[in-house]
Every structure is written in structure tokens, then in C-alpha cells.
């Protein structure tokens, strides 16, 4: 909201220069968003007014704060006017059909007015506040709005049919051309001010063309009313119309000062446009606003602020803000002025006292409560553990926007019924790209890879930990998810190394997940061959825990990497972190290092290439119990002399007992069992 400093001076003495005024206003909570200087000692301030301070939406309101800051009082504008013998009620009839939405409606009239242009002092002030000058009558309504915060509307009385103003809901499909030139079709949700026949303006928001003041207007009907703030807010949002008037009514306008604002306007209209003011004011008010009284226990002030403010200072502040305040026995009995709609309880008064005392004078003190120990929620700890492991494996964290659209999913070429397609729509999206909540992290990661690849960055190893969203009966369920994308080299300075040894493959990605599983001490996780529409059909797996798939991983389908301009071998995984963390053990538990030596034996055998290594390992482990400690594959060989369709696997096996040194006989026995299991169970042929 714009205020002109020289205009403020009409109501209060301002002993500050412009710079100091800026500082003062902002320390009072009137944020200064901009200053436009005029000459050496005048300026227009653009102030940010809090949503609960309708009373500050005027020069008078701002002057009141400055008066309190300088311990003075404001000079109120005059509304004295000579009234005619004729009374308004002889001409005008007002009917308020919705008293809840229109707590007060007043009307008064001026006759024999000469409509013309405004004097220079008036237009200058309006223009300084970004209000365009229309004519002297309309300008006065705007002037009083800027001065006292009361928006008004002036009608050409001779175009108000039946001499009636009716506050009523619009009729269904009622058409109205508002002053912004827009023809609007209304509905009963919208409150209008109508004449005997049809709507003449949208209540509290904008007037209409047919009854506007024109050069030929002689009789002015002046409406000054107060409207229900939520109604104004809803209507203005629904119609997409925000005006100076709606901005004030939605914050709340003082119901008690409507007549004085009306009188002020009449006085000014007469000053600039002549004419006679009819006697009386039509004033429809369902009920008066009760006077608010608050007993402020002075001990509340230090209890809230943590510092003492003297009672005298507090009372003086409240009084210069317009409160009545009487202190006795440590309690201040306060009567709240009608324009302070925001003040309801002690704390509200404490804030006014604190603002004028100065926030900078409140000390900085560390609390002396019961000593508390910092802690982290287990879910935060767990998420951090996951993040740390991934970073230690060399991955960089990315964050992507959880708002998405259907096109992002199309990237994955999902079948019709895929669960990723079951996304939660946003009811009121803002842009086309953000109409759904993501169900998977994969499209985001692919997008990251794609944009980096477009900068010729092809060594991309990234992960994201984020939430995905899925419909449920309450609306949406959120789930923590982990996504990993890897492509390119994992080593810099790889001169003379065979490129394939440093380039990401499926096994690099699997290794990352294995490290994660090991660090989280998740038992019994298995990787099984699987299919996913976005993955290479022969290089895709699911990660399963206790038989349930909790993730997929694999090499991106070559068609996809080609379509997205990604490096040929791009690997990608997504894991349900919620499910994974259920099985994680984050607290390390000490296991003493073994006291007895281990013995190593190698075994090499030929087996059908179709037998997965996981199965071979499982067979070895079963047969090797209880002495077999570890199984490590160190070679796979498929060329001659190994027959077609078979492969040679070589394992290093290590044996150990926790309570003795093993004998050669014991190992021979166990090796025998392993050999038999491989031969009988898997048709392996052992090589010497």
C-alpha cells in the first residue's frame, strides 16, 4: 500500500527524515517494500500491511502508529458539513437482505453537484498512491478510502431505479458490466448492491457502468458500507477481481467509523463539486459491534517478552494507539478502539507494547529450562544411514520435483495396468507439467541423466531419496523411495586401464545395492531375474526380501537409452526404502574376530550355463555347513575346452571353526560333501 509522507504529516508530526522514517516504519512492523522520493523531504512509501491489520490500510492508520512512536496523538480529518432541510430518506430506500454479509450499510446524498475534474492537490495525492483520477466525485471516494480506509461507492442517483439500494445475492445468470469493462454473468454466490431492478455493483469489490458518475450527474448517492471479510475474499478470488476496495474489506473495515467517513466524503465533495448535502444518513446496522475490553495482567508482559517494560510506558503506548487504558493493582483495563479488529486478548496488547518498546531492546537469552538432550527420530537416522552409504560408494545426491505429468511416465513405456500409472492427481494444478504426484523416482532420474548427457557429462552416478505418492482412501499415501542411476566411468585418471574395467555395468549397480544391504545388515536379500518395461529384457532383476519384491534394477532398455540420448549402458534401480528399512539393523554389534586360523581350498567345476550362480552358491553353502565360512567366485570360463552351453566356475572356499584349528581330514570331508552336492544336485563336473 502506498502512502505519501506529506499527506501523513496532515495527521501527525513526523520528526524523521525519509531514511529514518523507513527504519522506524519497518521496526514497527510496517515493511517498506519501496520508496519513491519526491524532492528533498517528501516520498511515497510502499508498505506491506499485515493481513490482520485492516486499520493500517490508510494514511490515518499509519499516522496513528507514528503518533504512538513519537508519543503524540493524531489530528483527525474534519467531516463538518452544512446539511440541507431535505432528508435522504425522502428519496432513498435501503434494504439489506443479507445482514450477516453486510453488517452496516449507509447511504447519503448530495444534490446540485457539478461533476468535473478534480483540483490539483487531490489528483496529485491520488496519483502518488497509484489511483487514477476519474472525476471530482469519484476521486473523493477514493481519497477518503486512502485517508481513512473506508472504501465507498458513488452512484448517479438518477440512474438508480426506484431510488432503492438492495443488498442481495445475485440472481442466477444475472448479467452485469463492471467498471473494469468486463461483462460478468453472476450467480447467487455473489452478493450485489442492486437498484429496484438489477445489480448495480458487486458488493464491496467493484461498481458497475450503468449507474456510474458521469459529467451530467447532478445528484450523487453515496454508499459507505462494511462487508463480511471472508465473503469479500471468496468472491474476489472466485471472480479474479482484486481492487483497492476488496483489499480493505477482506482485511476488515471499522464498522463504527462508517458515518464519519461518509461525512468526510460529503464534506470534500461539497468542497470540490459544490451542491447541497441532504440531511440524515440512512444507516442499516443489524447490530453494533460490542466494545472489546481486555484486562491485561501486567505480569504477562515480562512472562511473554522476557524483559520488563514499565507500566507507564505500556499505558502511554496503548493510549497513543487509541486504546483507553487504566492501570490499577498491576492490571491494565483496556478498551479496544473499534478499528482494532485484530486485538482480542492479552497477547495482542503485548505485541503492540513490544513493537513500540522496540524488538531490538529485548535481550537475547538462552532458555534455562530443564536440560534437554538432542535426538533424531529413528526414521531420520535411517534415511541418513542410507544416504551415507550411497555417498561412500561414490554416488552424488540429486533432488527432483515430485510434481509431474503423464508424459514423464510414458518414458518408461509402462503396460496399461502398471502400478506406476496409478498416480494421485492434483485438483488445482498450476502448470501443465505439474498435474500429478510422482509414483516413482525413475523419470526424474532419467531426466537428470538426460540433461547432464546433453552437456556432454556422461559419467553420471547419482541417487535420490524421496517420497513417492500413491492413492488411498484418505487421498494419498506417501512412501520413501530410493532411486539410483549409473552410467559411464567410475574412475578418473584411468589411463592404460582397459575401459571395461572402469565402466559402469549392471554389476556395478548391483554392487552398490549389495554394499547398501551389507551396511544396513539386511539379511536374506536376493536378486532374481525379472522383467520391467524400461529395462533390458536380459539384464534386469528384482530385489526381494523374504520373497517380496521391494525393488527393480537393471540396464536401461537399449531402445530407451537411444530414445533419450543416454549413453548405451545406463543402469537404473528403484527400491522401496520403507520396506528395506524395516529389515535394517543400524546399531552395529561387536563380533570378536576369529581366534583360530582359516583354511582355504579352491574348487573348479563345469556346470550348465543356465544354472544361476546364486543357485550354485546356495548349494555350496548348504553342503559346506558348518565349517564353510566364505564362498568367493574368482573365475568364470566359457571357451574351449569347456563344452558349449556350459561354463567353468572357480571358487575360493574358506573354512573355519570358532573353537579349534581344523584338521586336514575335516576339510577333506567337507569338500567331499560339497563336491557330491554339486555333482548330484547340479550335474557339475569337478575339475582337478
Amino acid at each position: 500500500m502506498k502512502v505519501l509522507v506529506s499527506w501523513l504529516r496532515e495527521y501527525v508530526d513526523i520528526p524523521f527524515k525519509v531514511d529514518e522514517l523507513e527504519e522506524r516504519l519497518s521496526m514497527l512492523g510496517l515493511g517498506v517494500e519501496g520508496i519513491e522520493r519526491i524532492g528533498s523531504d517528501d516520498a511515497v512509501f510502499d508498505l506491506e500491511i499485515a493481513a490482520n491489520r485492516g486499520d493500517l490500510m490508510s494514511h490515518l492508520g499509519v499516522a496513528r502508529e507514528l503518533a504512538a512512536a513519537t508519543r503524540s496523538t493524531v489530528r483527525l480529518p474534519s467531516g463538518d458539513v452544512a446539511r440541507d432541510r431535505q432528508t435522504v430518506s425522502e428519496f432513498v430506500h435501503v434494504e439489506v437482505r443479507e445482514p450477516d454479509l453486510c453488517p452496516r450499510f449507509t447511504a447519503t446524498m448530495l444534490v446540485d453537484v457539478r461533476v468535473g475534474s478534480s483540483p490539483e492537490w487531490l489528483t496529485r495525492r491520488l496519483e502518488a498512491c497509484d489511483v487514477r483520477s476519474i472525476n471530482n466525485i469519484v476521486d473523493v471516494t477514493n481519497y477518503v478510502m486512502l485517508e481513512m480506509g473506508q472504501p465507498m461507492h458513488a452512484f448517479d442517483f438518477d440512474r438508480v431505479r426506484g431510488g432503492r439500494l438492495v443488498v442481495r445475492p445475485a440472481r442466477s445468470k444475472e448479467v452485469l458490466t463492471t467498471l473494469d469493462g468486463v461483462q460478468r454473468t453472476l450467480d447467487p454466490q455473489t452478493l450485489v448492491v442492486a437498484d429496484a431492478e438489477q445489480a448495480a455493483g458487486i458488493a464491496g469489490i467493484i461498481g458497475a457502468a450503468p449507474s456510474e458518475i458521469t459529467a451530467s450527474t447532478r445528484r450523487v448517492l453515496l454508499e459507505a458500507a462494511v462487508w463480511h471479510p471472508p465473503m469479500i475474499r471468496r468472491t474476489s478470488k472466485r471472480l479474479g477481481v482484486r481492487t483497492e476496495s476488496s483489499a480493505r474489506f477482506e482485511r476488515g473495515v471499522d464498522q463504527a467509523s462508517v458515518p464519519s467517513a461518509s461525512a468526510r466524503a460529503v464534506a470534500l465533495m461539497q468542497q470540490v463539486g459544490g451542491g447541497r448535502a441532504l440531511d440524515g444518513l440512512i444507516d442499516v446496522q443489524a447490530r453494533r459491534v460490542p466494545q472489546k475490553q481486555i484486562a491485561l495482567n501486567w505480569s504477562t508482559v515480562p512472562r511473554v517478552l522476557g524483559t520488563d517494560v514499565s507500566l507507564n510506558e505500556g499505558v502511554a503506548t496503548l493510549r497513543s494507539l487509541g486504546f483507553q487504558a487504566e492501570a490499577s493493582d498491576g492490571t491494565v483495563r483496556v478498551v479496544v478502539p473499534s478499528y482494532r479488529r485484530d486485538v482480542e486478548r492479552e497477547e495482542d496488547l503485548v505485541e503492540d507494547i513490544a513493537r513500540h518498546h522496540g524488538y531490538e531492546r529485548i535481550p537475547e537469552e538462552m532458555p534455562v529450562e530443564v536440560t534437554a538432550q538432542g535426538s533424531w527420530a529413528p526414521s531420520i537416522d535411517a534415511e541418513r544411514a542410507v544416504r551415507d552409504v550411497l555417498i561412500r560408494t561414490g554416488l552424488t545426491e540429486v533432488l527432483t520435483v515430485p510434481l509431474t505429468n503423464g508424459a514423464a511416465l510414458e518414458m518408461l513405456r509402462l503396460p496399461d495396468k502398471h502400478p506406476y500409472r496409478d498416480a494421485v492427481p492434483i485438483r488445482n494444478p498450476m502448470v501443465e507439467d505439474h498435474v500429478l504426484l510422482r509414483t516413482t523416482l525413475l523419470p526424474g532420474l532419467l531426466h537428470v541423466a538426460r540433461s547432464n548427457a546433453s552437456h556432454r557429462l556422461t559419467d553420471i552416478q547419482v541417487f535420490e531419496i524421496g517420497r513417492t505418492f500413491h492413492p488411498n482412501r484418505a487421498g494419498a499415501r506417501e512412501q520413501r523411495s530410493l532411486g539410483v542411476l549409473m552410467t559411464g566411468a567410475t574412475l578418473r585418471g584411468a589411463w592404460n586401464l582397459p575401459p571395461e574395467s572402469v565402466r559402469v555395468t549392471y554389476y556395478t549397480l548391483k554392487g552398490v545395492l549389495e554394499s547398501l544391504l551389507a551396511e544396513l545388515r539386511v539379511p536374506e536379500a536376493e536378486f532374481r531375474s525379472a522383467q520391467a518395461s524400461w529395462l533390458h529384457p536380459g539384464r534386469a532383476a528384482s530385489l526381494t526380501l523374504g520373497g517380496h519384491a521391494i525393488g527393480t534394477l537393471g540396464e536401461l532398455h537399449p531402445d530407451l537409452s537411444r530414445a533419450l540420448d543416454l549413453p548405451a549402458i545406463t543402469c537404473i534401480a528403484e527400491v522401496d526404502l520403507e520396506a528395506l528399512l524395516e529389515h535394517a539393523v543400524l546399531q552395529p554389534r561387536f563380533v570378536p574376530p576369529p581366534r583360530y586360523p582359516s583354511m582355504r581350498r579352491d574348487i573348479s567345476f563345469v556346470v550348465d550355463a543356465g544354472v544361476p550362480v546364486a543357485e550354485v552358491e546356495a548349494a555350496i553353502r548348504r553342503a559346506g555347513r558348518p565349517l564353510l565360512e566364505s564362498v568367493e567366485l574368482f573365475d568364470i570360463y566359457t571357451a574351449a575346452p569347456v563344452p558349449e552351453g556350459r561354463r567353468n566356475l572357480a571358487y575360493a572356499l574358506s573354512f573355519r571353526s570358532p573353537d579349534r584349528t581344523l584338521t586336514a581330514e575335516e576339510i577333506v570331508e567337507t569338500m567331499g560333501a560339497i563336491t557330491r552336492a554339486l555333482e548330484k544336485g547340479l550335474g557339475a563336473k569337478i575339475r582337478d
Binding site: 515493511g31 497477547e347 537475547e364 534455562v368 534437554a372 552424488t396 488445482n428
Partner: protein, 329 residues
């Protein structure tokens, strides 16, 4: 007959030979010649028994001394020789030490995560319990329990993405405050960090998703002065011990009095967030008696702060995930 003089001469001769030996092989030859089983010194030892009893002890003694002296000299010489040998051999194994090292790619946190964790650590150090809450919220927790009823103008500044009539993406992490207060008994010091959503089209300074930190403290003697103490300490830990701060009156429906926190950074005042004393109604909604307890609360925006701190000109760069940017933090 051996004489003391003979022994000395032999000793001197052997020592010279040891020094003269040019390689381990020559040295071994010298050792064999003097100390070997058929060497010159054992030869003399063998003659000892034939000496007069008076002479025997003296000569034996002297021979022993010479022997240990020679053994020492051989050892020393052997060490010298082996050193010179390996120096030459290792010279052939030299590499170009200026070739590029094999560098594993190092992973790192996103700068937003890093900042959130920095903030969490600071408050953790001040005894705060760090919690988290859902991103999908109800109007009740996101607004109503925070003293923002339907049609409150403050809702305008927090235009929300709705899922159903009552369910929305949270617009502020303050919603978590309202959640965690329920059923707890003061004192409490609680902090939460996370993502929030507001209905904005992405541009250089706004994204529809952003990060916030919210914290509060409830107790019998919590004051606005405590709020200042805690937040000033936080700002100094994050921005440095000389950091200038200021508190300016503000308006938030859930606090009364309310204050905005600014820090002076890079020659300008930067708004860190909002704060104040919890409105008594917010405590009442959570079942906490405002007559007995007071509480301060604060909410800090993180994304804007990261931009200012690191001089990132466009907020979208935080979401582009350009590795050339991510790798700088």
C-alpha cells in the same frame, strides 16, 4: 708360537680386507678367509691349547675380542653394500610420478540436504529433538490448528495444491509442530525439516516445492528473549560468530507477538524466516494450557538462504541437478 703382535696384525689386515670388499660376494670371501671354519682366526684359536697356561687366557681373550670386532665390521659393511645395491636396482624401477592419479569419483550430498543437515546439527546441539512429518497434510494441521481458519487472508499467501477437499500438500513445516505437540507434556524442544509445496509456477526465485525448517520450544518460562537467544545463536553458528541479526515485527496467525528474523550477509539484510511466541490458541488446540506454559516457534526458509549464501542466481539451478553445479558443494 703366536704372539699378541701377530693377532693384532691379523686383525688389522682383516679389517682392511672387509673395507675393501666391493660387493656382497667379495665380502663373503673375506669372511670365509678370516672367520670361516678353515679361516685364519679359527686357525689361531686352535693353537691356544698348546700355549703355556699363563698365556692361554690372555691370548684367548684377545682372539675373542678380535672375532667380535670383525663380525661387527662385516655386518656393517654388508649393510652398506646392500644399500648401494638396492639403490641401483630401484633406480631402474622409477615411474613418472606426475602421471594423473587414479581418482575414484566421490559422492556428495545435494547442497539443500547438506544445509538442512547443518541446521539440524546446530539445533541438535542446542538440545532439540529432530522429528519429521508427512508431506500430505490435512487442512486441520496445515491451517486450522495453526489458527488459520478457512477464509483467513493468510491462506492467500499459501496457495495450496489440493488432493481432496480436506487433504493437501503441506504449505509449511509448521504443520509438523501442530502434530507433534499433541499428547506431549512440556517441556519440549522440537525441530523439523522438510519439503513444502505452494501453488507457484517455477521461475527464478520460486518453485512450487521448497524446503523449510520449523522449530519450537514449550515450557513454563519461555519468552521472546529466549527466542532471540536461540535464533541469534543459530545464526552465528551458521553464518559465523560476528553475524549481525535483527528482529522486525511481523504477522503470522500462529504467533503473537511475531517477529521476522534477518541476518546481515554479503552487505544486505536477508530474511531468514518468521518467528514469535505461539498464539495461545495454538497451544490450546494442542491441549497445552497457555496459562501455565508459553512457547516460541520459528520457521526458516532454506532454498532462498542457500541461493544467497552461495550466490546462486536462479532457484531452478538447485533442481537442475547439473553435476557441474552439484560437485561444487
Amino acid at each position: 708360537m703366536i704372539t699378541v703382535h701377530d693377532i693384532d696384525r691379523l686383525g688389522a689386515e682383516a679389517e682392511q680386507a672387509i673395507r675393501a670388499a666391493g660387493d656382497p660376494k667379495a665380502l663373503e670371501e673375506v669372511r670365509r678367509l678370516y672367520l670361516g671354519r678353515k679361516g685364519k682366526l679359527p686357525e689361531l684359536f686352535r693353537q691356544v691349547p698348546s700355549l703355556a697356561p699363563v698365556e692361554r687366557a690372555r691370548v684367548g681373550d684377545q682372539l675373542n675380542q678380535i672375532r667380535s670386532r670383525l663380525e661387527g665390521a662385516i655386518e656393517t659393511r654388508a649393510a652398506e653394500l646392500s644399500e648401494t645395491t638396492s639403490t641401483t636396482a630401484l633406480a631402474a624401477e622409477a615411474i613418472d610420478v606426475t602421471l594423473p592419479g587414479r581418482r575414484r569419483l566421490l559422492g556428495r550430498e545435494h547442497v539443500l540436504t547438506r544445509t538442512l543437515q547443518e541446521v539440524e546439527r546446530i539445533f541438535h546441539g542446542m538440545g532439540f529433538e529432530i522429528v519429521e512429518g508427512p508431506e500430505i497434510e490435512t487442512e486441520e494441521f496445515n491451517f486450522e490448528r495453526l489458527n488459520i481458519p478457512r477464509d483467513h487472508p493468510a491462506r492467500d499467501a499459501q496457495d495450496s495444491f489440493y488432493i481432496t477437499d480436506e487433504v493437501l500438500l503441506r504449505t509449511q513445516t509448521t504443520a509438523v509442530d501442530a502434530r507433534v505437540m499433541i499428547g506431549r507434556t512440556p517441556p519440549m524442544r522440537i525441530l523439523t525439516t522438510g519439503r513444502c509445496y505452494r501453488r507457484d509456477a517455477p521461475d527464478w526465485k520460486r518453485m512450487p516445492v521448497f524446503h523449510q525448517v520449523d522449530g519450537f520450544m514449550v515450557g513454563e518460562h519461555i519468552t521472546l528473549a529466549n527466542l532471540k537467544g536461540v535464533l541469534v545463536s543459530f545464526a552465528r553458528q551458521l553464518f559465523g560468530p560476528e553475524t549481525k541479526t535483527k528482529f522486525v515485527p511481523g504477522y503470522f496467525p500462529f504467533t503473537e507477538p511475531s517477529a521476522e528474523l534477518y541476518v546481515y550477509f554479503n552487505n544486505q539484510w536477508m530474511e531468514l524466516g518468521g518467528s514469535g511466541m505461539f498464539h495461545p490458541r495454538v497451544l490450546e488446540y494442542a491441549g497445552i494450557d497457555p496459562q501455565r506454559y508459553t512457547a516460541f516457534a520459528f520457521g526458516l526458509g532454506i532454498d532462498r538462504q542457500v541461493m544467497v549464501r552461495y550466490g546462486i542466481p536462479d532457484i531452478r539451478m538447485l533442481w537442475d541437478n547439473d553435476l557441474r553445479v552439484l560437485e561444487q558443494f
